[in-house]
Symmetry: C2
Subunit: 267 residues, 2 copies
C-alpha cells in the first residue's frame, strides 16, 4: 500500500499547529510533546518503541529521497508535506533540513526504569546539568558507550528540548532516561539496587584510570558551575580525571566521555 501524504497549503492549517513557532515554544514548553528534526534523529525516533509520534512534517522536495525513513513511520502517523516557504513560515525560521516530527514525551519513573535494566549495566546520573549542549553531548557519549540509562535530577534541563536532541544526534531518544527529585533520592534508588556509584569531580579520590571495571556502574556528574555538593562528595565514592596542573578545566561532557570510555566493558 502506497504511503499517503497530506499536503499543507497554508501556514494557518490547524493540522500543523504543533509545528508553529517552534523556536519560541521550546522555551515555554509544549505540554508533553517534543520536536524531532532531521533524518538521523527521525530514524532514531522510529527505531525505538519508547516514543509515540503524533505526526511528521516534510518539505515536499525531500520526500523522494527519504524512502527508508518513510517506511519506518507507522501507518497511523500522518505525514504532512509543504513547500519550503510554507514550512518556514509555520516553524518561524528556516528549516534547513525540511524534516520534522512531533513526539510525545514518555512518563517513566526513575525506579521503574532502573527495574527494567539488565544485571550488567552502565548508568549515567546527572545532577543539576542545566546546559542543553552539555546534556545533549553527555547523552551522545552515553549512547556511544552503551549506557543503559540516564538518570537526571529535576533541576537538569530537558533532554527532549530541541537543541539537546540535535546535539545528541538523537541519543536522547535512544537512551532511556527518567528523573528524580534530587541527588539524594537518585543515589538512594541506585544503592537500593546495588549499583556502585562513582561521583566524578576534580576533587575525587581515585584516579578514573585506576578504577576497576565492574558489571554495573553508575557514573554521577555534577553541574559545571558548582559541581557536586560537599554532602554528595562525602557520602559517595569519588573519582577524578588527572589533568595538567595549570589548566584544570575539563568540560563536563568531555569528562563524561573519558569516564564512560574507562568504565564501559566492550565484551
Amino acid at each position: 500500500m502506497k504511503r499517503e501524504f497530506l499536503p499543507i497549503e497554508s501556514a494557518d492549517d490547524p493540522r500543523i499547529a504543533a509545528y508553529r513557532n517552534i523556536r519560541e515554544r521550546d522555551l515555554v514548553g509544549r505540554q508533553g510533546r517534543f520536536v524531532a528534526e532531521g533524518r538521523v534523529v527521525l530514524n532514531v525516533l522510529f527505531s525505538t518503541s519508547r516514543f509515540d509520534a503524533e505526526s511528521v512534517f516534510l518539505r515536499e522536495n525531500r520526500v523522494s529521497g527519504l524512502g527508508d525513513l518513510i517506511e519506518r513511520i507507522p501507518r497511523n502517523v500522518p505525514v504532512y508535506t509543504a513547500s519550503a516557504a510554507v514550512m518556514d513560515e509555520i516553524a518561524g525560521f528556516e528549516i534547513h533540513r525540511g524534516i520534522l516530527a512531533i513526539g510525545r514525551k514518555p512518563e517513566t519513573s526513575g525506579e521503574a526504569l532502573l527495574d527494567t535494566l539488565p544485571d550488567e549495566a552502565l548508568v549515567v546520573a546527572l545532577s543539576g546539568i542545566s546546559n542543553h549542549d552539555n546534556v545533549g553531548s553527555i547523552f551522545r557519549n552515553a549512547a556511544s558507550f552503551g549506557a543503559a540509562a540516564v538518570l537526571l535530577t529535576d533541576d537538569c534541563c530537558d533532554p527532549l528540548y530541541r537543541k539537546a536532541i540535535r546535539v545528541s544526534v538523537g541519543a536522547t531518544l535512544k537512551v532511556p532516561f527518567a528523573r528524580f527529585s534530587d541527588t539524594a533520592a537518585l543515589a538512594a534508588a541506585l544503592q537500593d539496587r546495588d549499583y556502585p556509584i562513582l561521583a566524578l569531580s576534580p576533587r575525587g579520590e581515585i584516579d578514573i584510570a585506576d578504577v576497576r571495571r565492574s558489571p554495573r556502574h553508575a557514573l554521577l556528574l555534577g553541574s559545571e558551575g558548582h559541581g557536586l555538593s560537599d554532602e554528595d562528595m562525602t557520602r559517595l565514592p569519588t573519582a577524578r580525571i588527572a589533568m595538567a596542573p595549570d589548566f584544570d578545566s575539563l568540560n563536563v561532557a568531555a569528562a563524561s566521555a573519558i569516564a564512560l570510555h574507562r568504565l564501559w566493558r566492550k565484551d
Copy 2:
C-alpha cells in the same frame, strides 16, 4: 603608580573602533586582530607572552572588582571604560560580562613552532575541522592534558574567532598553534622531527586503549563530516575508540578528550 582609565562617552569615539559590531566583524575577519571576552580569557591573554594586546575595554561598573586582572595588563596597553549602554552600542549586542580586549594574532610558522617544543611533547593535529565549537573544545582538552601545541591545516577554522576562544575557556590563547597548507605537509613536518603520528578514526587499526604511551605523540583528528582521507589513513598509523555497535558516533571533541587522556603522561 595608579592605573589610568580612559572613559569613552560616545559610541563614535575612534579610539574604540576595533570593538565596533564585533559579532558581524567576526565573519569578515579583523586584519590580524582578535577579540577576547571575559575575565578568565583576559587572564589567560595577559599570562602568556605569545600575544600583544592593543587595548582593553571594560564596563565602568566592573572595574572595581577586577583588581587582579588590571594589575596584569601591561602599562602600555590603554584601558578604556564606558557605561553599559555605550559599550553595548559599540559592540552591537549586549556584552554581559563587560570585559573585552583586542589582541594581535601571532604569525608563527608550523615548522618554527615544532622546533621550539621540548623532547617530550604531546601535539594535537587538526585536519579540516571547520566548526568553532569543536575547535574550541579540542583546544580546551589539549590544554587540560598538557598538549604542547596544536597544528591546523589551512581549512580548519580560526581558533581566535570569538566563539572558539570562549568555548575553549581561553585555551586557544594558551596552547601555541600554527598552520600548515594541508595534512600531507603537516604530517611531513612531524615525521621530519620523529613524532609518531596516530590518526584517530572509527576505521582505525589499533584500539586507543592499547596504544603504548611514548615520550612524544602527535594525535591527528579529521573533520566530523568526512574524517581523514583514505590516503592519510593508508599512509599513517591509525587508532580507533571502541564504541557500542549500535551508535557509532562520537563527536570529534569528545574523541579528542578520550585519546588525549590515554596518550598524556602525567608524570
